[in-house]
Subunit: 133 residues, 4 copies
């Protein structure tokens, strides 16, 4: 099990007229969470894609516990709970500056070969890095 933390500040354009961070914008926060989790492992999602691997999202579920507000500096904790095969699960928790848990989420993504658009297993160096932890 691997976890990493990163931070993101809520932009004005991400608020809605309720004064909350719009519920649809969290998906970008979780994307940042998983990209930065990979980076902290020494993996680059950008390079993986340049090498012909795509990683579309299969499912996504999220609970909104407390609102995120404009200018809040959020901490995203991203967890890879198990060694991935053709699919990879990420779990997420978002905390506000008072260290309150404001959101929990989960996504499943699938490794795809760009060439033939077929599922494939996770890159071996990635699995090796996770197993070495």
């Amino acid at each position: 099990m691997f976890s990493a933390k990163t931070q993101v500040r809520v932009r004005y354009g991400e608020t809605d007229q309720m004064g909350y961070c719009y519920y649809g914008n969290y998906a970008q926060f979780f994307e940042i969470g998983r990209v930065e989790a990979l980076r902290s492992l020494g993996m680059s999602y950008r390079e993986m894609e340049e090498e012909g691997i795509m990683l579309p999202v299969l499912d996504y579920s999220v609970k909104y516990i407390k609102p995120a507000l404009y200018d809040d500096l959020l901490t995203i904790k991203t967890t890879i709970p198990e060694i991935p095969r053709a699919r990879i699960r990420f779990e997420y928790e978002i905390y506000n500056e008072k260290e309150e848990l404001i959101s929990k989420a989960e996504t499943t993504l699938v490794f795809i070969n760009k060439e033939n658009m077929r599922p494939r297993s996770a890159p071996e160096d990635f699995i090796a890095k996770l197993e070495a932890l």
Copy 2:
């Protein structure tokens, strides 16, 4: 059980470099689905909010079955599966122009009094309209 359909066309700005509609943008499609479902019942979400009722999202889950592509004209089918009380559930299906089911989702929202930020029951005229169907 009440269902309504509406359509939305995928914008260029909603695609990502995979050539898919970005997974985070579906939340706006489901928002359009529920707002137009209310409108088809003779309810206006805008007026409800002007009258002091807010409707934040509590949870949201979505499955991505096939990608939505640029310029696709999507059909969103929105269902209110049961009479709401303090909470309201919406279920969604998105179909592409070939009438393939490309996504399924579900959200729970909660009725809040803006004045005191406390949960309240769904507006009576809204319940009456649903019960009269």
Copy 3:
């Protein structure tokens, strides 16, 4: 000179905590304006891209005269003021439901061959359609 009109409804997720449609979201409205202007000419931006022509934006300027509000049904009037060559200019006006002009804008885009990423002239059938008006 060619003009076309299309409509777009302001989404909840497009508002900000000022209660206005966020200034950054207008770019998508103008994109819709130009895509629908092309469509009304019998041109498809999607097909143009599939045939290897890209059309990135070079410059964009916009004036915000009155706010666009949640659920407003906006009318976008898009004008192609002159026959394009390697570049194409679009001018835009947005009107609200009271027929008030709420925004004016202008963009310049450039025709690019995807293959070699070099500028090229506008497709001949497109110019022919504009000249036939």
Copy 4:
């Protein structure tokens, strides 16, 4: 004349199917530029708004010189070229990691009293801070 720099990384959801950062997403980068410029002056846009001052955008123009790509770490240089009165101008330059200028922009915003929605002059402490530089 006051300048400040801040950084932002291009998100996957900000790219489009051309593989570029979508032209409409730059507006958020410039918003980050001005908010962080204010913060580096000891001003908080959030607090200003909580104290009843709104700052909507009146006009915005931008040149796209080179594309911003996924995962690029961009540097936004924001300049306040003159002491503001009822209006405030910001100028922006965006640089990529190769220190190439990829975009230039300019916005004018207006100070508004939330209470009566009328223009007002810039807060005195803000002007004092700019004059003290």
